[in-house]
């Protein structure tokens, strides 16, 4: 693998919540690099603080200690794409309205931003649904809107917080194929959070296995399997078993 530039570097990032009667240590000394245009998967059991870590990278929460270095400087709010597990679409906005939101907030004029939004709507295969509202869409389609909306921020960094966690198994498989297709067409640096080992192996260039509560990087796996990958491939299964054996039980 060619040597890639580090896009984001996390150094000893820790997060502790101080509650009334106790303190909860969620993240402990997380150190990792995200390389440019790679598909990095953060894999960990449920409730292990993956979302918190992603929120810290997105600047929605502050780390208790440690630092995050962006190679090109910390992006301003609005210059970083994020896809949420529960879609977080604006229910009163159409598909177009959701996808153009970032540019609208930045004050881009209507014709320009809608042309841009249209490109991303086409990219995720939702042409013809521009005027639909989220309520009229299936779960898979909703998340396509979420992906298009994040892409439309034109950020070269995309954070994805268990984006397929709320989908049924069949839709999940097809969305996994879809996200790889989208990413190969339009390369960005992706940090993808999941608790699903197969999903991590199917998607990631690299997997960071996180431990549970407090969360730290337990092991790094480089997935050197050609795409498109197969769930039943021998190498795939061997790696899967290895990761599963090393994963903390989600209690």
């Amino acid at each position: 693998m060619a040597v890639l530039k580090n896009k984001i570097s996390l150094k000893n990032v820790s997060k502790t919540y101080y509650l009334k009667d106790r303190t909860v240590e969620v993240l402990k000394d997380i150190t990792l690099d995200v390389k440019e245009n790679e598909f990095l998967v953060l894999l960990g059991p449920g409730q292990c603080g993956k979302t918190v870590l992603l929120n810290i990278i997105a600047d929605l929460e502050k780390a208790t200690s440690g630092e995050i270095i962006f190679a090109d400087g910390r992006p301003k709010m609005g210059d970083l794409g994020m896809v949420f597990q529960k879609y977080a679409l604006f229910p009163w906005k159409t598909v177009m309205g959701n996808v153009e939101m970032n540019q609208k907030l930045k004050g881009v004029d209507k014709a320009t931003r809608q042309a841009k939004a249209q490109e991303y709507i086409n990219l995720v295969g939702l042409q013809g649904f521009e005027k639909a509202i989220p309520k009229q869409l299936s779960g898979g389609m909703k998340q396509r809107v979420g992906i298009a909306r994040a892409y439309a921020s034109e950020s070269d960094i995309m954070l994805m917080d268990e984006p397929f966690g709320a989908l049924d198994a069949q839709t999940r498989y097809s969305m996994e194929d879809e996200i790889i297709k989208i990413w190969e067409k339009n390369k960005r640096t992706i940090v993808f959070v999941t608790n699903n080992v197969e999903e991590a192996l199917y998607l990631g260039d690299r997997i960071m296995l996180l431990a549970s509560r407090p969360s730290y990087v337990k092991k790094e796996y480089i997935v050197d399997l050609p795409r498109p990958r197969s769930y039943t491939d021998k190498a795939f299964l061997e790696m899967r078993n290895e990761i599963v054996a090393n994963t903390d039980l989600d209690i």
Binding site: L60, L80, F84, F90, L105, I133
Partner: protein, 259 residues
């Protein structure tokens, strides 16, 4: 019983209960010295006041007199209520400054204001409008405020990530997300406002449905009272039906059943 037989009963039961209601009404209204008019007498009185004026106004004029008071008060209640509700829900400083005063005044039933408002504003149109305003303002403030406070934090996060500044967060994300809560407040407020106008008119008025009821009481005209009570109920029902329809139009994402 198979399911179609069960279904049949769901049609029969309401007819049965309404039939029993009228049977009881007719039974109780028998006898010469009863204070309960028969359904037939009530209907006749209703048709009579539709054509023959009481206090120089037919029924529809009285209804309009009441409605007008409600609508004027309602306009101000919505404007000021939404404004105050947004302020209380959005700004901690605003909430800690005005919140306590609002909390002190809030539990006072609007009707308790009537004597004071009459002393302050006299017996013209103004006191009725003020009473209705008090009655409809509070639910609008409360619903708007809690709607803003209970917005899905995920939507706020999405807005922040997409680059919304604080003003955009309020106008582009929080307010649109709160529209259903505001509309629910408006629906409660309309019921409450309609109740208040009747109460205010019962105390002092020359026109309006509340006035008609009191006129019925003064002249021992029980048929008039009953007819007006039914009219008041029907008007309230119509108003809330219109609002429910309006909600479907304004927020199809929330209320409309079409998929």
């Amino acid at each position: 019983m198979n399911s179609s037989e069960v279904k049949k009963w769901y049609y029969i039961l309401p007819v049965l209960s309404i039939g029993m209601f009228f049977a009881a009404w007719i039974f109780l209204s028998q006898g010469a010295d009863t204070m309960i008019p028969t359904p037939y007498a009530t209907l006749q009185r209703f048709l009579d006041i539709c054509v023959n004026p009481i206090s120089e106004a037919t029924l529809i004029v009285h209804i309009w007199a009441s409605l007008k008071r409600v609508l004027i008060a309602f306009f101000f209640a919505i404007v000021l209520g939404v404004f105050l509700g947004v302020g209380l829900g959005w700004s901690k400083a605003f909430d800690s400054f005005l919140g306590p005063v609002f909390e002190i005044l809030r539990p006072i039933p609007p009707i308790a204001w009537i004597p004071l408002v009459i002393l302050w504003c006299g017996i013209g149109e103004l006191p009725k409008v003020v009473i209705v305003f008090i009655g409809s303002f509070v639910p609008i403030v409360l619903n708007t405020c809690s709607g803003i406070k209970e917005i899905d934090p995920l939507l706020i996060n999405a807005g922040l990530v997409l680059g919304a500044n604080r003003r955009q967060l309020l106008f582009e994300i929080t307010l649109p997300a709160t529209v259903p809560a505001i509309l629910a407040g408006i629906r409660t407020a309309l019921s409450s406002g309609w109740m208040c106008v009747v109460a205010a008119e019962m105390i002092v008025a020359k026109q309006g449905v509340g006035f008609l009821i009191v006129r019925g009481q003064e002249s021992g005209d029980t048929a008039l009272i009953l007819a007006c009570m039914l009219v008041i109920g029907v008007v309230n029902l119509l108003l809330s039906t219109i609002l429910v329809k309006l909600e479907g139009v304004l927020c199809p994402w929330q209320f409309s059943k079409t998929k």
